[in-house]
Amino acid sequence: MKKVILGLGFVFLCTAGSLAAQTLTVWDFKYGEVTGAQVPMKQIDALFMKANPGVKINHVSQPLDPQYYQIIQSAATANSGPDVAMFHPGAREYGFDDILVDLGPHIKDVKGQFTDASLEMVSIGGKLGAPVKLLPMTMQGFGIYYNKEYFKKAGLDPEKAPKNAKDFLAACEKLKAAGIVPITSGQTYTVNFFLRTAVANAYGPTVPGLADGTQKFDTPAFRQSVQFLKDLIDKGYVEKDGFSRPYFMDGIDKFAAGGGAMFVGLLSDVGNWKIFSDKLGAKNVGYFPAVNFPGGKYQDQQVAQGAGIGYGVMKWTKNEKLAAAYVKFATTGEGAKIYASATGALSPNTAAGGDASAYPVLKVIQGYLKSGIAKDYPPLFYNGYEDDSNRLCDQLFVTGTMTIDQFLTEYQKLVTKK
């Protein structure tokens, strides 16, 4: 009799344990975008909770710039914190390898759905085949969107993107003459993103060489693009007002409201094909990935990050299986579809796709993604690289307190700086 009671008690305890409410804490730097990412994320959470009764998702919005990684660092010091957290794959995440769980054993069933480019970025050291620490949620990239109606108004062919630098400059002149702002800008990100597209065309498949020293920034191709951008700004083709906008979002909004003819935007998340198509009209948005320079080795390279943002499981979690399940849920199947369709993110998950039929510009983008991708260079470097890079760019492009030679020297120094 005693044994039966003990046995029953044991069974009861086990079931009671699994019936008790479990809370999963997720830290996210996109959840704070109340009109953007938060909407699909709430849906994803609701679905997950429905599929896993008794589980509560505590989704916490954290500020990104720049406290996010500091807060993660604090959590690491205290060895406690969220179960799941969002990261930027690439160098920023490599710094946290030791506090992230190896997702390998949990993702055997879904690993194949992700592109190699994305898996590479979420594995230790950026090496395909190394332990995977994050599951990627988006893939990111940068390029130049243009307003077809404005092109027409200025006497340019709306279906033809400027083929090269000369055409691009001519287009700007025509736009300005027609009273249209050629390039809408937002904070320093316009420069930041333009340089990324320029690097893609200047170095193509050799971009990783910038990190290991086999390639340098002071090359004729890159120099040309820097000079070109500077000229664009000096000639007033880039909206100077935009540099003092406190937030990049305002620049995005301005372009989406018809404030300018061109905009250096992103492929996923914000300032992307979906937002512009929705606001300007799906047939009205054109796209090209970069400005082609005469004599440049590479043309029309689409700069892309295999993985833009992703989720990882923290090593101190008490619910590793549940946390991993959540990560999988958000980045595959229904979860990935919801996020992608709501925000216009491009998913590196080949099973989730954007609807190209409703968005012609997406087809254009997908075409470029297929024909030639170049790696994005900032993720190759240390934490805080982008901030240092932006400050240097400010000095050359925005405030004019540096020469191009000085800029290139200092920019090269950043590679070895830490």
Partner: protein, 291 residues
Amino acid sequence: MRHRGLETDGIAPYLFLAPLLVLLVLFILYPVTMNLLASFTEWKGYGPQKWIGLSNYEKMFQDQAFWTSLLNTGIFVLYIPIGTAFTLFVAALMRESIAGWKTYRAILYIPNLLGYVIMGVIFSIYLRDDGILNALIRWVTGAPVHFLIDPVLAVNSIGLILVVWLHLGFGIIYFLAAMNGIEKSIYEAAIIDGANFWKTFTNVTVPSIRFAVEFFVVFNFIEVFARMFSFIYTLTQGGPGYSTFTLEYGIFAQGFQKFQAGYASAWSMVLFVFCAVISTVQIRLMQRRDA
């Protein structure tokens, strides 16, 4: 503050002081000491610390950002006499019981009251090229003023706003009160002598509240060296480039953005020295006043 007699109050004073002292040792004394040690290490802010001797200091003295932050702080300091003089002037004006002075005093205190974080965000919207202030300026001169883009303007804007504008309200209340303490007889004698506002201001009012002025100046020094961070963080993030970078911001960028806590601690030590100097001056001023 002399006390009579040779008796002491036993251990009671120490008991009354215990909470404060415990908190101070734990939250200020200990961290400052640990910072000094950390400045000789390479450290992520968590995890192990590696001793590297004076490397951080070498790196710091070669870092352009470091010298720029010192320069910027110097520029802010230059605004302190301007701010003090202007505040004194406005306070003296109000003292003359001009109509509505109480309302003015209250409204001018509002920027002070709202704090650096809120004011920083408000000004980041207000000073934009396409913001409301520039709209007014464009109406008058046709071209916007690049408050936040031009490096020289940016640092001077912060100097003007933070040092002069955001302390005006507090300074007015403070100086008005101090001026109230001036003996009426001295003041009236000056008026009888036929002195106008300026003469009274410079010869009687200001000298009579010398201690208040000194403390206001010290207060401003503290704000510039040790309290500006929240404002710069919300307004310009140390930019454009490094034109509004300060020591405090450098500690933040290095320690919390780039996880180079050891290097950040070296910068902290420089800041510590400045603060120690200011603190000593403050203490000396107090001792002189009490003498």
